[in-house]
Amino acid sequence: MAEPFHPDLLRDAAARLPGIDPGAIDAVVERGIQFAQRLSRPVPEDAYPLLAVSLRAGIDDLVLATQVIEEVSRPELPPVLVTMVTTAVLSRPELSDPVAAARTVLNRAASRRFPEDGPGPGPLLWQIAEYRAALDELTGSEPDLERYLRDLTASPGTMQAFAEFLGGAELFVQLTRTELDVPELDEVVCDGTSPDSETITSWLLAELYAGTSSSQRRVVTEWLTGLRSPTSQDDLAFLVDRIRRVERRLACCPSPAPRLDLPELERVRPVVSAAVRNGLSFPPLWTDRSAAINLAASKLRLETNTATWPISMLVASVVVRSLHQDVHQAADPDRPLDCACGADLHSLRTPRRPDEVCPHRPWPEPGRVEDLTTLARTARVGDENLAQLHLKRYQGLWREWIGDARDRMD
C-alpha cells in the first residue's frame, strides 16, 4: 500500500540511538519497513525517534497495536474490546490492513437469532462470538456462532480467556497489564495528637494514590480536578474504595505524614488542601446513589463468586456513600414503605435532617443513608437480622469497608 513512510527519517533516528552499530541500524530500518507495511497508515514525522527505540527493543508489536487502537477507538466502544479485537487482528498476519480489519470486526452487525426462552450467556459473549465470526469471514473461513458461544460459556469468562479465544492473547495481556508502581502504605500507630491541616492533606493524598497504577492515578487526578463527569460509570468502584480509604485515614493521621513523589501532586495538592479546609467537599461521584449502588453491586458479583444479588446489594449499600454519610446501626421496623423524603413516588425530593435515615441523599447532603431496615429492604432479604447476619459472614471484596458497619451494629 502506498502510504507515506520515510525510511531515511527512520535511519537518521536510529543512527542517533546511543551505542548502535551500523548493522543494527540496517536491522531497525528493515523492521521499520515491515512495520509500516503492517500499519498501512502514515507514520507521523515526529514518531520516528520513538519508533526507532521500539524497533531496536523489539517491542514494535506493542507500538503497532497502540497505533491501531488509537485509530479505531471510539468513546462508545469499551476500550478493552477495542484492544482485544486489535490484538486478534494483529495475530492474523494475512490481514494486510489492521486498522480497516479492526473496524470491520468492531462494526459487524448481529447475525444470531434471538434464542428460545430460557437461560443463556450474556450479550458480551454474543459480541465476542460475533467478533470471531467477523475475523473468520475476513480470513476466509466458515464461522460457527453456536459453537463459539458454547466455547465461550465454558471458558473462565475473563477478558484474558476471551482474548485467547479470539487469538493474540499474549499481546493483549501485555497491553492491558496494570503495574502498581506506587506502593501501599505501611501500617502506622496512631499517636493521639490532633494533626494540623497540612498533615491531614498529606495523609489524604497518600491514601488517594497509594497502591495504584499509572492509569488509576490518572482516574484519581481527573476526579479531584473536576474533569470527571458525575454520571460516568468508569472506575466508580475503584473511586468508592478510595473514598473509604480516606474516611478510615481521617481517624488517624500521625505525624509526620508520608510524602509521595508524584508529578501530579503539584496540581492536586491545592485541591485536597482546600477540601480539607472546606469540610471535605470532594467532587460528586454520582447523581443517583441507588444507580451507583447497582453498578457497584454488579461488579462485586463478578469479583466475588459467593456474592449473590442480595449480598452484593447489602455490601454495596453499606460502602457506596459520600464522606458525609453513614450507616445507622439500628433497625426501624416501623419505617413506612415510602421514604419520608418522597423520592419513591415523586421526582422532587425534600431534604431530610442528618439524624433521619434516607437512602436517597444526594452526594453533598450529610446524614444517615442506611439502617438495617433499609438494607434489608433494598437487598430483599427477609428481615434485619438476616441482613446483619449476611454482612457479618461476608468475606469477599470490600469486606474491610463493611467491618465498621458490622461492628457498630453489635
Binding site: 426462552d117 437461560p119 458480551l124 454520571t231 460509570q233 443517583d288 454488579s298
Partner: protein, 264 residues
C-alpha cells in the same frame, strides 16, 4: 469486566423490517423470554434490579417503545432505520441505564419469575400481568344472547383477584387488590367478549388508572367510577381470543407520552 450497568450498548437493525435488537454488553448470564409478538427480551439472571440486557422489538407500532426505550435509544433507532449503517454502538450514562432498569421492571419480573413490579415512567407507573389465562377463560364461555361472565380457571363465577404493585396503586389512589371477570355475549348477532376489571378508589388525590392489553396496538381504556358507587372503578376491555394469551397492562398518568420522556 463489563456489566449492563456500564452502559456499553449495541443497537442492531435486523433483517426483519422494523425490528431492532438492543444489547447492553454484560458478562452476567441472562434469561431469555419472548413476551409477545414483536417483543422479546433478556435480563441478567442474577440481577433483580437490572436493566434489560437484550431487547428485540418491532418499532413503529405504537408509543410503548418510545416510552420504554427513552429518547436516546429512539434517536439511534431512527438513525439506523435509514440507509447506511445497520449497527450502532452508544454509551448510556449511569442515570440512563437506571431509568431503563426502572421502566422495564414489569417485564423483568415476568422474565425472572418474581412477583409483578411497577415500572417507573416520567410521571407515573405501569405494570403487566402475564399468564392470567384471559383467552382461555373466554373460549370456555358459551355464546349466548345474555352475557356470560366467568373469571379465571376453575373459579366458577367468582371474581378473580389481581394484586397491583403498591407504587402503582398508591399513585392511582386505589386499593392494591383489584379483580377481573371475563364475559362473552351475542349483541345484535355479533359476538363480543372481553374482561371487566374492578378497582376500589381510596379517598384523596388520584390519577387516572388505565388498563389495556399488552400488544403492539397500544390501546388503553380508562377506569370510570360506577354511577351508583363512586368508590368502585370499572374498566371494560374487549378481548378477542386469538393466538396466544394476552397479558394485561395497567398504568397511571393522564396520557401515554411520547418523544418528551425525561430520562431520569
Amino acid at each position: 469486566m463489563l456489566t449492563a450497568w456500564d452502559g456499553y450498548t449495541r443497537v442492531d437493525y435486523l433483517h426483519a423490517p422494523g425490528r431492532v435488537r438492543i444489547s447492553l454488553l454484560t458478562v452476567e448470564p441472562v434469561v431469555h423470554r419472548r413476551i409477545r409478538r414483536g417483543l422479546a427480551c433478556a435480563f441478567a439472571a442474577g440481577d433483580l434490579t437490572g436493566p434489560p440486557a437484550v431487547l428485540e422489538l418491532d418499532v413503529g407500532w405504537g408509543e410503548t417503545e418510545d416510552l420504554l426505550l427513552g429518547p436516546r435509544l429512539m434517536d439511534v433507532i431512527t438513525g439506523i432505520r435509514g440507509p447506511g449503517s445497520r449497527s450502532r454502538s452508544i454509551r448510556l450514562e449511569l442515570d440512563e441505564v437506571a431509568a431503563l432498569a426502572d421502566r422495564w421492571a414489569p417485564y423483568r419480573s415476568q422474565v425472572l419469575g418474581v412477583p409483578a413490579e411497577s415500572g417507573r415512567l416520567a410521571d407515573g407507573f405501569w405494570t403487566s400481568f402475564l399468564k392470567l389465562g384471559l383467552a382461555k377463560v373466554i373460549r370456555s364461555l358459551p355464546v349466548a344472547a345474555d352475557p356470560v361472565y366467568r373469571a379465571g380457571d376453575d373459579c366458577g363465577f367468582a371474581w378473580q383477584p389481581l394484586r397491583l404493585p403498591v407504587p402503582l396503586a398508591q399513585d392511582a389512589g386505589v386499593e392494591p387488590l383489584a379483580r377481573w371477570v371475563a364475559y362473552r355475549q351475542l349483541a345484535d348477532g355479533v359476538e363480543e367478549s372481553g374482561v371487566v376489571i374492578h378497582a376500589t378508589a381510596l379517598p384523596g388525590r388520584r390519577k387516572d388508572l388505565h388498563a389495556g392489553l399488552d400488544d403492539r396496538d397500544d390501546s388503553w381504556v380508562v377506569f370510570e367510577p360506577d354511577p351508583d358507587d363512586p368508590t368502585l372503578l370499572v374498566a371494560e376491555l374487549p378481548v378477542v381470543p386469538g393466538r396466544g394469551e394476552p397479558a394485561l397492562r395497567f398504568r397511571t398518568e393522564g396520557r401515554w407520552p411520547s418523544r418528551s420522556i425525561q430520562t431520569c
